[in-house]
Structures are given as C-alpha cells and as structure tokens.
C-alpha cells in the first residue's frame, strides 16, 4: 500500500481540463509521507531515549547551576553520609559525589558527541571513498586498511595508545576512541554506497556534469543519512562506554571528573570493602541509563532505514 500518493478531494466543480488538473496536482504534492522525526518520535523506545538524552544534555549544559559544587572540588570532609549539603555523600578524598556525578555528565556527553562524530566522519570518508571507487586501487588500499583495523584487537590498542600519551586530556581520549572504532562502520558504509552507487540518480548526476567528489558527498551521502545517524549513535554509545572503561582502568583523563574516573577512584579507594556502595553504584547507573538512551534513540533511527521494524499496529 502506497500511502504517499495524494489527491485533492475538495473538488468543487472541477471542469475537465489539463490546466486545472495540473493545478490540483500541484496542490497535491504538498502532502507527503511521515517525516523522519515523526517516525522516530512515534516509537515509544525512541521517545524515551530522546527524553532521557535531553535531560542529560540539560544536566550537562547547566551543570554549573544544577550541581551544588564544582566537580573537581575535594576540600570537603571525607566520607560524609548523604545529607542536604552532600546529596550523595562525599568520597574518601572529600569530593561531593552528587556534584561529580552531574559534572561527569559533561564528559560523557562530550565523549559521546565528539567520539561518535569523529569516528563517524572517519568511517564516512573511508567508507564513501572506498565504496564509490569500488574495484580501483583506492578501494583496495582503503578496504585493506579497514580490514586490518577490524582485526586488530581494539581494547589493547586503545590501552596502548592511551598509555603513550603525555597529556591525557579528554580530547585525546576522544581521538583515540575515534581512530580505533571506525572500521566496522566504514565497512557498512562501503557496502551501502556500493548499492547506492549503481542507482540511477548517481548516473544521472554524472550526466548532469557533477564531479565524483560532488556525487559522493552531495548526492550519495544525504541518502545514507539514517545509516550515518545510526552509525553516529552507535559510535557515540561505544565511545561513552569506552571512555568509562578506559577511565576505570586508570587510563582516562583524571583531571576532569567523569563517571569512569569516579568508578576508578571508588574501586581504587576500596569502596567495596568500605561499603561505600553509593559511590560505586551511582556513576555506573548514570552511565547505563545514558547508553540505554542512546540505544533507544537508535531503535528509532533503525526504523527509518528498515521499515520492517516499524512497530505499526
């Protein structure tokens, strides 16, 4: 059933004739199928994800106003129980857990946003070029690089790269995560572009005198937007998790507060033995909920590229 086809019905006294029919047709083109955001929004999971993500973003952006203290402050009395001053108590080194949690949102969102973005961009450039020039040496080289990147064990690689840096800034974490996590997405984009490349509209663009670069990035790329979006959220999810894992291993940016560093500190300071379960529990939960939100949003995006999954009815 095509539901995108439309026709006016307020046909008050329509004469038979080309012109007016054409005018009616012109009216008709206005209505179209559901827009992508309404498809996503209509999915309950995606809606929940978007709302949670929105809350996190608000929390991150307005952290200075929401958090009772600076996240990096450690001059409180150590090991305080939760109270009005310290909603979730304090750490062994006198940091306010609630504030750290709220400020930590920033790091995770930053890592998610830019880690996802950079990984997606690398994947996009490599995948698009490789796919568009399928069969040429450019593709051979890029595919080879992609395949090698796929078989190299990622975690040891990230750990090694992190251990290499002198300055463990959040940006370096993002960089390392991005350059180690693009390969799978690049492969997906390559195969996608190979199918798209043979679409008539690409040939048509060639006949319109467009150059390869224009064709790849202006004609083909927009058609892959749902895949790219899905890739972005996937990469962002991975990046957030990776940052937490790295920080947990003590390889993160310890000068800013992130949930991973909180977990690391908690684990190092023997939070388990001292029974400081809030310290251990809360950052992980915040992380889990954020990743869940990402995943839920991706559910919605999957619906765009795969109508089979739309939960109609």
């Amino acid at each position: 059933m095509s539901t995108g086809v439309t026709q006016p019905t307020d046909s008050s006294n329509l004469p038979v004739g080309g012109e007016e029919l054409a005018a009616a047709e012109a009216e008709a083109v206005e209505a179209a199928g559901p827009r992508w955001w309404s498809i996503i929004w209509a999915n309950r999971k995606a809606r929940v994800g978007i709302v949670i993500l929105g809350l996190y973003i608000l929390l991150g952006v307005f952290a200075p106003w929401i958090a009772p203290y600076e996240g990096t402050r450690t001059d409180f009395e150590a090991l305080l129980e939760p109270s009005a001053e310290h909603w979730l108590g304090t750490t062994t080194s006198g940091g306010d857990i609630a504030s750290q949690l709220i400020w930590g949102t920033r790091v995770s969102l930053l890592v998610g946003l830019f880690g996802g973005l950079f990984a997606t961009i690398i994947a996009l450039v490599v995948g698009m070029i490789s796919g568009y020039f399928e069969g040429t040496w450019i593709d051979e080289v890029l595919s080879f690089v992609t395949n090698v990147a796929l078989v190299v064990p990622i975690l040891p690689l990230i750990i090694t790269l992190m251990a290499y840096t002198e300055d463990r800034s959040i940006w370096f974490t993002i960089f390392v995560i991005a350059i180690t996590s693009w390969a799978g997405a690049a492969r997906a984009k390559r195969s996608q572009i190979i199918t798209l490349r043979n679409r008539d509209f690409v040939t048509a663009a060639k006949f319109s005198g467009d150059r390869s670069w224009t064709i790849v990035f202006r004609e083909i790329m927009p058609s892959m937007s749902s895949l790219i979006m899905a890739g972005f959220f996937g990469a962002a999810t991975g990046a957030v998790g990776a940052e937490a894992g790295l920080s947990f291993l003590g390889l993160g940016d310890t000068s800013s507060v992130s949930w991973g560093t909180m977990l690391y500190q908690a684990n190092q300071q023997g939070a388990l033995a001292q029974g400081l379960w809030i310290w251990l529990f809360v950052p992980g939960l915040a992380l889990a909920i954020l990743i869940t939100a990402f995943t839920f949003v991706n559910f919605g995006i999957d619906l765009l590229s795969n109508p089979h999954l739309r939960e109609d009815g």
Binding site: K45, F144, N147, V148, L150, V151, V152, P153, L155, P156, L157, I159, T160, L161, A163, Y164, T237, G241, A244, G245, F248, L249, L263, N267, L272, A273, W277, L280, F281, P283, G284, L287, A288, I291, T292, F294, T295, F296, F299, D302, N306, H308, L309, E311, G313
Partner: protein
C-alpha cells in the same frame, strides 16, 4: 579456486600488516622494560639502585640498544621460526608456555559462556521475533537493551560486591583456590565455583547481541515472500517459525558466532581484571602494564590470527550454509 587464492592472499596481507602493527604498537609506548620491571619489583617508592637496573637490562636485553629495523627483522625472523621469545614478566619462561597456562581459563570461561549466550540469545531472539509486539517481545527487547547497555565492568563490580563481599557466597578473585590443577573433581569443582561470578556477568551481557541480532533478521525474514508463501501453504506456525524464518535468520548469527569465537582469544580484559581471573585478558593487561613486549606481541598475534582464521572460517561456513553465497563466490 580464484576465490580461495584471493582469500588466502588477503589473509596473508592482513596478517603481515597486523604483525607489523603488532610490532610497532608496543614500541610506541615510552618506558624501558628493565626500569618498569624494576619499579614493579621494588615498589613505587624505592631507591633507584643502578646496579639492579643494569642487571635487569642485561637479563631482558636492552631494546634501546638495537635500532628498530634490526628489531623488526629479528622479530619477523623469529616469528617465521615460530619463536615468540621469553616473557619479561615470567622470565625465563617463553611466552608460548605462559599463554598456554592462561589459555584454558579463557577458552573455558569465555567459550562456554559464549556458546550458552549464543544458544539462549538466539532462541530468545527468535521467539521474540515470532511473538513480535507481544508482552514477551517487549520484555525481552527492552530488558536486553537495558542490560546490554550496562557497562560490563560495572556490572561485574556490582555482582562482585553483592555476592562476593556482602553475601560472601562466592570467592572474589582467582580461578581456583586450594585444589591442584588437573583432571580431578576437586579442582574442577573449585574452578567452577570461582568461575560462577565472572561467568554470570558474561551470561547476563552475552546473549544481548544475539537476541537483538536474531530478532531483527528474523523479523525481516518473516516479511519475506517465502514465509508468506509458507503461510499460504498452510504450514503450521511452529514450522514456519523454525524451518523457514529461524533457519534463514540463523545464518548471519552462525558466522557471527565464528567471528566471536575467533575474537574470544583476546580474553575479556575488563571482566578478568575485576575478578582477577587468570585468563588471557588479564595476561594482556599485565603485559601492557609491564611492557612485556614479547608476551604482548604474542598475545596480540594470537588474537589477530584467531580473528583472521575465524573470518576465513566464517566466510567458508557461510558458503556452506547459504547456497547463494556459494554462487557469489565462484
């Protein structure tokens, strides 16, 4: 034939690239293994005794002494002879022996949980797809989505905290305790007892991917014409679910399983760390930490070869399972 040559050519080229990367990456790290080993042995705050550091350098060989090319050729040379070198950390044991000790732990723990996760996940996924949009489906998809997003190491910490520390039901570290490794009931029981917590983490997070993957492919397959035709044929529902939709949806999962089994050799670094489990993942972490180049190289090589072989096997498996792929290959 051509397909095979291509596959093998690719295999060798990737192997070379990976082996070279494998050589380069550890050397990107700053630090002298002898100094690091010294600090490891003496503790962080210790007198820097030059005599001891020199002795260690003499023992481990001084990587700073040779140029990189020379090291690279030596590395390739000994690799081709199957020599992986002596571990720094476990000096004078050679890395093959060291890996041999850790391998069974990872194989058994990760392998078993992977297979169980695969079976359980695939079944749940198939059932959820079949009962799509029912309460069961929502619970399975929502539940697995949420659990799947829990950071595994955090989950491990929580489980360790609850069952290891608070309740004290399970040991908090190690792969076994008082028993002597070997084929004796005491040891096997001991090892199982120790593996329950790490295994439970892997079993909680493991099936998620299989569930969602299977559910999605199966839903797509259920929309295919041959499934509709099967309905029109009057094939009973369970048969449609199993013999038509599930069978076909299983193909990508099976190749996925082959790949997962390949990458299993990397171990589960974070989980093994949390539970202090004596597998390959923890060994990898140690090797990185100790700048144990020979060990780290061997471990990475092991993983890479595992993944590459798994890729090869997955390709061929797919060829066997899916006649369409067979044609595409020839």
């Amino acid at each position: 034939m051509r397909y095979f040559l291509r596959r093998i050519g690719f295999f060798l080229a990737t192997l070379w690239a990976a082996v070279t990367l494998n050589f380069i990456i550890p050397r990107l790290q700053p630090g002298d293994p002898a100094e690091i080993m010294f600090k490891k042995l003496q503790g962080r705050d210790a007198e820097l005794d030059p005599a001891k550091i020199e002795a260690l350098r003499a023992m481990l060989g001084d990587p700073a002494g040779k140029n990189l090319w020379e090291q690279y050729w030596n590395y390739l040379g000994s690799l081709s002879r199957g020599e992986l070198g002596l571990s720094y950390t476990y000096f004078p044991y050679d890395v093959a022996t060291v890996i041999g000790v850790a391998l069974p732990w990872t194989l058994v723990l990760v392998g078993t949980t992977l297979l169980i996760s695969f079976v359980v996940g695939t079944l749940l996924g198939a059932f959820a797809a079949w009962r799509r949009n029912t309460r069961f489906d929502s619970i399975v998809t929502l539940g697995s989505t949420f659990i799947g997003t829990l950071p595994a190491f955090w989950l491990a910490l929580l489980i360790l905290f609850a069952f290891g520390y608070v309740l004290g039901w399970f040991p908090t570290a190690g792969g076994y305790d008082a028993s002597t490794p070997g084929w004796n009931a005491e040891f096997i029981g001991d090892a199982i007892y120790h593996s329950i917590l790490p295994a439970s983490v892997l079993l909680i997070t493991g099936p998620i991917g299989w569930i969602l993957g299977m559910r999605n492919t199966m839903i797509m397959n259920l929309g295919e014409d041959y499934v509709r035709l099967a309905r029109a044929k009057g094939v009973p529902d369970t048969q449609i679910a199993l013999r038509y939709a599930a069978r076909n949806a299983l193909l990508p999962s099976i190749t996925g399983l082959a790949l997962a089994l390949g990458s299993m050799l990397g171990g589960q670094i974070l989980i093994e760390q949390v539970f202090d489990y004596p597998g390959l993942g923890r060994l990898t972490a140690q090797a990185i930490d100790n700048k144990d180049y020979p060990l780290l190289q061997a471990l990475l090589l092991f993983t890479i070869v595992g993944v590459l072989l798994a890729n090869l096997i997955a390709d061929m498996l797919y060829g066997i399972l899916d006649p369409r792929a067979r044609k595409a290959q020839s």
